[in-house]
């Protein structure tokens, strides 16, 4: 690391006075509201939606959301209430300083200490007469965010540069708002990343501009080669791919394969079976919000995802999938969420300052979904502000698409050719969620620049693989199973921020997943369950209900087979453990359970008692 970098890092640490230093040659610095004051209010959180940036402000004081309208903010501070918010003669007495320093009661709590640089700047600005604009020709056009290496592990400084049309740069680290995609993973304090524990993103925002910086996972040591226990991996894989646990026989084969290959070999075996088809149909169901009627579940598992999309959109805007919704805006939102991974609901009512899609975009993209039959559905649409009629067009294009979506070919072609990458990325993320328990982008339908993926490189890789496999899901799933991303241990302790450590999120199996898996493990027919029961009712059902009893007493189930054929209590117990918990019993468990078999005979009643006990443990319901 160079001396210069070290110097600039140190310099950044005292960035609070950076501006003053840079300008120290000038005798007098002229403050500019939009440049010096508004960004500091944004930085302190004053202009967020939950505070003064809300639609109606807070406590009678309203700022524009994220400081996007400096003129209005200036008026709110300097002109409103006859200028009572500032006191030019005695700046210290200005409300705009006394409230955030808690000299007066403030609903938003303490935002600045009296010796904060922002307080000094505001004080000097007020003393200078609280001007709106100094005569400064520098108008930033874009923002750049760079790392300054510190030489320390997992911490680095940040430089934020505002650059104008002529390419001139000014450092704005002291007034930009810096945040991270996950404060547990990447902690930022005073413009320095103090703890980088997991991959993620750093964001900087200044005036209307923003910039982001990826912190890739590769350089963070924790993630190296931490893999879950092989038996636990087999249990995880089998449940994720086919919705049950491995049979003792599968486990024995799995352990016999070479260590580096067994997971991949087992995964291939599983995805080729009929069980996978039935299980994968649920993925399609969740993806589309319903199943595309024309394909059987076996076809679904084999069909490329673009073919499924084509099938689901058969009939274009009048396809069964979209026709269920009568409002074209609902149809469009469902289409955008499922096929593009875009959440456009917010733009129905307002423009979001941090999002690309506007209310006009929303209406223009809804318009193609208007059913052209007279009075069939609402529409056409008009701009709420100007009253002007909005022409239909596909999202992000300028070409008009006059009711084109109603022609199936137009909608599908646009999706699968023009939007191919976006479609692939959306599905890559959904496939990742199918295996990892959570998407790389969450929520799944919320892909946008301000909500970047947890691991961009992985998402890109999955997308490219999906494209290369011509939208076949199975090769992509098989590839992901074999990576370290899938094989990470899960750390379920509530104190550890799981996502931050790059670990897998453990979850609790729902009763409709748990009981069929138990039935399958014990070779019993699948039980019938109450639908939509409350969590308490479901626990009672598991504790005392009929379904579990039927499984335990099903003729010819594993318990009966063991009672009949297995003379050794020790082996019977191991078999039961392998079937239900995918591991052999530990020493303490053996010591507790084996004495139940009086005189060592394997009796059905005792097996049933132990199986019931295993089913009531906490371990069985945790998917780790």
């Amino acid at each position: 690391m160079s001396l210069r970098a070290l110097a600039s890092f140190a310099w950044l640490l005292v960035a609070t006075s950076a501006w003053a230093q840079e300008e120290s040659e000038e005798f007098y610095y002229e403050y500019d509201f939009a440049w010096d004051i508004a960004p500091r209010l944004v930085q302190a959180g004053c202009a967020t939606a939950e505070c003064h940036g809300g639609a109606t402000g807070r406590g009678g004081f309203k700022l524009s959301l994220f400081g996007t309208d400096p003129r209005a903010d200036y008026d709110a501070i300097v002109e409103e209430l006859d200028g009572r918010r500032i006191d030019r003669l005695d700046p210290e007495r200005s409300l705009v300083l006394r409230k955030p320093t808690l000299d007066l009661e403030h609903g938003g709590g303490l935002r600045w200490n009296e010796d904060d640089d922002a307080v000094r700047v505001l004080r000097e600005w007020i003393a200078a007469g609280a001007p709106f604009r100094a005569d400064d020709p520098f108008v930033p056009q874009r923002l750049e965010l760079e790392r300054i290496e510190s030489g320390l592990q997992r911490s680095f400084g940040l430089r934020v540069l505002a650059i104008d049309a002529q390419g001139r740069a000014r450092e704005v680290g002291d007034r930009a708002t810096i945040s991270s995609s996950d404060p547990d993973a990447l902690r930022v304090r005073g413009g320095v990343v103090t703890h980088a524990r997991a991959p993620g993103w750093i964001f900087a925002r200044f005036q209307q501009l923003d910039a982001r910086l990826e912190v890739p996972g590769g350089e963070l040591r924790e993630l190296d080669a931490a893999r879950a226990d092989p038996l636990l991996l087999a249990r995880r894989l089998c449940f994720d791919l086919v919705g049950r646990w491995p049979t003792p026989e599968e486990l024995r084969r799995y352990l016999a394969w070479a260590e580096g290959e067994r997971l991949g070999a087992y995964a291939r075996e599983l995805v080729d079976g009929a069980e996978f088809a039935a299980h994968f149909a649920r993925f399609v169901d969740r993806w589309l919000g319903s199943s595309p009627g024309a394909l059987t579940s076996e076809e679904l598992a084999l069909a490329p995802l673009d073919r499924i999309a084509r099938e689901a959109l058969r009939g274009g805007g009048r396809s069964a999938l979209l026709r269920r919704r009568s409002d074209p805006r609902d149809r469009m939102e469902h289409f955008a969420g499922a096929f593009l991974g875009l959440r456009l609901e917010c733009a129905r009512c307002h423009n979001h300052p941090a999002d690309r899609w506007t209310q006009r975009d929303h209406l223009a993209f809804s318009a193609p979904f208007v059913d052209p039959r007279p009075d069939a559905s609402p529409g056409p649409f008009f701009d709420p502000a100007s009253g002007e009629r909005i022409e239909p067009r596909f999202l992000g294009t300028s070409a008009s698409a006059s009711e084109a979506a109603f022609a199936e070919a137009a909608l599908v072609d646009w999706l699968l050719s023009e939007q191919r990458e976006r479609f692939a990325e959306n599905l890559a993320n959904r496939l990742a969620a199918f295996l990892l328990g959570a998407g790389l982008v969450e929520p799944l339908d919320d892909h946008r620049t301000t909500n970047p993926p947890r691991d961009l490189a992985l998402l890109r890789e999955l997308r490219e693989r999906l494209l290369a496999a011509r939208f076949e899901a199975r090769p992509v799933l098989l590839w992901l199973c074999a990576t370290e991303h899938y094989q990470r241990p899960s750390d379920p302790s509530p104190e550890a921020p799981t996502a931050a450590e790059g670990l897998r999120r453990a979850r609790v199996l729902r009763p409709e997943e748990l009981l069929p898996a138990i039935a399958r493990a014990l070779d019993a027919p699948p039980p019938e369950l109450q639908a939509d029961a409350s969590p308490l009712a479901r626990e009672l059902e598991l504790l005392h209900g009929e379904p579990l009893e039927r499984v335990l007493r099903a003729p010819g189930n594993l318990l009966e087979v063991l009672a009949e054929l297995e003379p050794s209590a020790e082996r019977a117990l191991e078999e039961l453990y392998l079937a239900l918990l995918t591991r052999p019993p530990r020493e303490a468990e053996r010591a507790l359970l084996l004495p139940r078999f009086a005189s060592g005979a394997v009796r059905l009643e005792v097996l049933r008692e132990i199986a019931r006990a295993l089913i009531l443990t906490r371990e069985i319901g945790a998917h780790r």
Binding site: L102, P492, L536, H544, E589, E609, E619, A622
Partner: protein, 425 residues
């Protein structure tokens, strides 16, 4: 607290606020209920489908017959205020109750209108708000000493009264009302004979399992513990058994869902449950409304009159009117003109609600509709104000904020929807 200055407190609070999770916990702590709200409870009778205001609490004596409908009117205990003649007991009691007339919204769809009233927020595509009864439910660890659920729905809760974006543990526990056996039934409550050994073994195996628990697993543990406690608690089982009430009292409430449901609700709130919703469906009378309300076994209007008046009398005799807030509400009113099938269709511009009990004045009729029951006379009452008023009567502040999943604080009841001061004691 007196030793900590306000300033120091906020300084600490703002440091904590750096961690969103802690901030949420802190907000929850600050939102901890006051002693008043801790003791008060809610019984809500929900008339699902949209009860006609003209045929119950807002009849129009002088209107033409196609508006007046099939029923006569009677004078109530409040001079100049009429009720439907089929509600004589409530009419006689009206000087002890609060009647809200002229509730008005633009929501004519059952689900949206019900959610608007029950959550106190306009339904939104991006955020499902919790129903206000959830604000009374436990959020913390389950307390084995009182295993009854804190929020019960009989037999089921409408969507708007569910947990929304809150954890599912704060939503209602649904129990069926078994009229034949006079009990609330929570299926599988009874331990299966001969399974004690397995449960004991499972507990010992869990004790050997040193694996840490995720938040999701801890949430599940809570329900497991509650299921075990409730199935082993005699007190809990007694709370569900209506046969323990004198036969005479059971008869006074009436042998129907509303009557026995409200009686069960009283038993539950007496024993520590904080909110009970009795869900009475089938009020969506698009045809032959006179038959639908005036006939049957028992006739709906008679059952409504009997059960709500019996609840009032019972709570009063037990001194529970000081502690329990009772509300009778529905999603919207019905069209003032009978349609060609003799029914009435959805009419969100005029509806009513009946309240009484803790924190409420007695004998107040607030709001009014025009001569044909079409529109409120003034600007009307927005449905969220019912929830705001009920929360205020329960000792909670409807403007209190709570963090939504994205961290954005939202008030318990939509902004600008104040409690109706005129009806609060």
């Amino acid at each position: 607290m007196s030793l900590v200055t306000r300033r120091a407190f906020f300084a600490q609070a703002s440091q904590l606020a750096a961690l969103p999770w802690l901030a949420a916990r802190l907000a929850a702590r600050l939102a901890a209920p006051s002693p008043v709200s801790e003791s008060r409870a809610l019984i809500l009778l929900w008339l699902d489908g949209g009860c006609s205001h003209l045929d119950t609490f807002d009849p129009k004596r002088a209107a033409p017959s196609e508006v007046r409908g099939p029923f006569d009117t009677i004078e109530s205990a409040i001079e100049g205020v009429d009720l439907c003649a089929r509600l004589p007991r409530l009419a006689a009691l009206l000087d002890r109750l609060v009647l809200l007339r002229g509730l008005s919204s633009g929501e004519g769809n059952h689900d949206r209108a019900a959610s608007f009233l029950l959550t106190g927020h306009r339904p939104s595509a991006t955020l499902t708000s919790p129903g206000w009864p959830c604000w009374l439910s436990d959020e913390g660890a389950f307390d084995p000493r009182s295993p009854l659920p804190s929020y019960v729905a009989l037999p089921a809760a409408p969507n708007g009264a569910r947990a929304g974006f809150l954890p599912v543990s704060r939503g209602p526990i649904e129990m069926a009302l078994d009229l034949a056996h006079a009990r609330l039934s929570l299926p599988n409550l009874e331990p299966r004979p001969g399974t004690e050994t397995s449960r004991a073994l499972a507990a010992r195996l869990d004790a050997l399992d040193g694996a840490p628990r995720s938040l999701a697993e801890l949430a599940r543990d809570r329900f497991r513990a509650q299921a075990l406690a409730i199935s082993q608690s005699r007190e809990a089982r007694e709370a569900l058994d209506l046969k323990l009430e004198p036969a005479e009292l059971r008869a006074r409430y009436g042998a129907h869902l509303a009557g026995q449901g409200l009686l069960a609700a009283r038993r539950l709130v007496e024993r520590g449950t904080r909110a009970v919703l009795v869900h009475w469906d089938g009020w969506d009378h698009h045809r032959e409304i006179g038959e639908a309300l005036g006939y049957g076994f028992p006739p709906r209007l008679d059952a409504l009159d009997q059960s709500v008046s019996a609840l009032h009398e019972d709570l009063e005799q037990r001194g529970l009117l000081e502690r329990v807030v009772v509300a009778v509400a529905t999603e919207f009113g019905r069209t003032p003109r009978l349609n060609l099938q003799g029914g009435r269709d959805h009419w969100p511009r005029a509806s009513c609600a009946l309240l009484f009990g803790a924190g409420l004045r007695r004998g107040v009729v607030h709001g009014a509709t025009d001569a044909r029951g079409e529109e409120p006379l003034d600007e009307g009452l927005a449905p969220p104000r019912v929830g705001a008023t009920i929360l205020a009567a329960l000792g909670l502040d409807p403007a209190q904020e709570f963090p939504a999943p994205n961290g954005r604080p939202i008030p318990l009841i939509e902004k600008g929807q104040a409690p109706i001061r005129e009806v609060l004691a």
